[in-house]
Symmetry: C2
Subunit: 341 residues, 2 copies
């Protein structure tokens, strides 16, 4: 979360910060709603939820919902608070997924902090994830928009399907690029797409704008995940908020590895088999993986693909008239891929 | 699941079987819908879901939904299939909860079979649970009833809250009877209440019938859980579908233990502290626990309380005119407590 004071002090704002500044009142309302709705008399729930949701998150997805709602002319002045409720619901769905992912992935760093399951235990993370997921639906019901509910509940089942597909492909070096794309479309891009598609729906915009915003969210999500997968091998831990090489240690198949395997020498194939399939890894193996990924240009190709999706996201927004808000959403799409340059 | 052939062969049908017979076509439609909607191209999902949902379950909750829908005059002839969709959604929510419970409880028997997490792993159980939960909401959205969605999404967050509360009270011998009642109301009775309350809602019945059916489901659920908790110490493993003494081994606080603690000698208090708080248990401790529970009449008192809730469930149905269906629902409430006599 970016504190307003920090925004004002900083002269060179990122597009995410600019977008936040344009939606400051909405995001304050969303924050208040998040805090209020993760409350429960069962103390472990707000404690654990606060650890994950309360701090450290970028709130990128809810920011996308309120920004696109504003772009579609749906504002608080317009009379409703559905955009705030849907934004909070989107963040709750995302947070529930993260809590369950931490248990599944056995991560040891999340948003720069110790994951909740390592503090409260796996059981608490599973159950509080379920609680946040249910609360997301409570919020959606309150908006009264069955169409928005349909979009987000569909995204929720697609996300779960993508997570299971990823689990089933763990340590499988035969995973194809098409399978990988369908995993990241499901587990990441579907929620971005839903977060932006609900806005034209509650603002009663036409099908063209709805398709454009869905497309924008989907492409932005794909670019975002591709960069994340590249940064796992080529980032700064501080920028990532998670440990470098997490995917590698879990034997997770991502595009860099798939591309490198396509160009691998026999020795390199044997190497990938050892570290991914057998998960036999010593201290030097991550460095060796990184140098193979660089030599085969697998990281560069991953970033290139992210750039193409970023361009498509920017183009999708052309159906909207130029405005500071539209420009900012387009800049954001360029910005997510700049993390890797 | 009770096969129709079995129903015909058996002369002395249980009330659950009689109810099934009265709703046979509806339950066949619900079964087909369950199988269809747990399908996914990601093979691990139907495999795992089939293991749990496909067989062995009593389908008690969806049976309650279709039976009460019929009682309220909502049938397929009435034009809609919302009762089937809601019944399948109720079963999916219940199944998602069971999948997550298996991971949380570390059970080794579920519906008389090996739990899914011991076959496919904890991660798969968590993620397929999430998938079924999301699919439940997809089904609800399709009914178009925002009111039914509100009832079931509220139940979902109450259930999760109850599960966390139970987790937080594990191995806490200071747990009060009031805390225990709020746990079982949330984790079990809330879904029974929602399963029966949605029926008058989709059938456009008045508030009195809605309140009566909610009350019936709630009291039936409370009776059901109290008997389950008594049977953990005093049942046949085959009747239970889970291992005898599971609650005891997990250090779960249930009414029998709470009541026994209220009358415990110093030596007995020390015993409960050792087995529940410290979880130091040897082979004879379950037998010792059972004999204390019998001597203090804690099991008998638990069953008595279940009987009172059963009577209240039966009385709640008095607002409906007598009919084979109503009688059957009332008999069912008497039947759930008869499991323990």
């Amino acid at each position: 979360m970016i504190a307003p004071a920090q925004i004002q002090r900083d002269n060179a704002l990122s597009p995410a910060q600019n977008l936040w500044a344009l939606c400051e009142d909405d995001m304050a309302a969303v924050d208040a709603l998040i805090v209020k709705r993760m409350h429960s008399p069962v103390g472990m729930i707000p404690d654990l939820a606060q650890h994950l949701v309360g701090a450290g998150g970028k709130r990128l997805r809810p920011l996308l919902t309120v920004a696109t709602a504003q772009l579609c002319g749906y504002t608080t002045a317009h009379g409703g608070t559905a955009h705030h409720k849907l934004a909070a619901a989107v963040e709750f769905i995302h947070s529930a997924t993260l809590l369950h992912d931490d248990v599944v992935d056995e991560s040891n760093l999340r948003r720069g902090k110790k994951p909740a399951n390592l503090i409260w235990g796996n059981s608490a993370s599973i159950l509080v994830g379920d609680f946040l997921f249910a609360r997301a639906f409570n919020l959606m019901v309150e908006t009264g928009s069955m169409e928005a509910l349909g979009i987000l509940s569909n995204a929720a089942s697609v996300i779960a399907e993508g997570e299971v597909r990823q689990l089933a492909s763990l340590r499988n070096i035969a995973m194809t690029e098409a399978e990988y794309m369908s995993v990241i479309e499901a587990k990441t891009a579907a929620l971005f797409a839903a977060a932006t598609e609900v806005s034209p729906v509650i603002a009663d915009q036409d099908a063209e704008k709805r398709a454009a915003l869905r497309d924008y969210g989907m492409k932005l999500g794909l670019a975002f995940q591709l960069i994340d997968d590249a940064l796992d091998y080529d980032g700064q831990q501080s920028a990532l908020g998670k440990s470098l090489g997490d995917d590698f240690r879990e034997g997770k198949m991502t595009l860099p590895v798939i591309r490198a395997l396509g160009k691998a020498t026999d020795a390199e194939t044997a190497f990938w088999r050892k570290v991914i399939v057998d998960r036999e890894q010593d201290d030097l193996d991550l460095q060796r993986a990184i140098s193979i990924l660089k030599r085969t240009e697998a990281l560069e190709e991953t970033i290139q693909m992210a750039r193409r999706f970023s361009v498509e996201a920017i183009e999708a927004m052309d159906v909207f008239e130029a405005s500071p808000l539209r420009d900012c959403l387009q800049n954001l799409a360029a910005y997510v891929v700049s993390r890797a340059s």
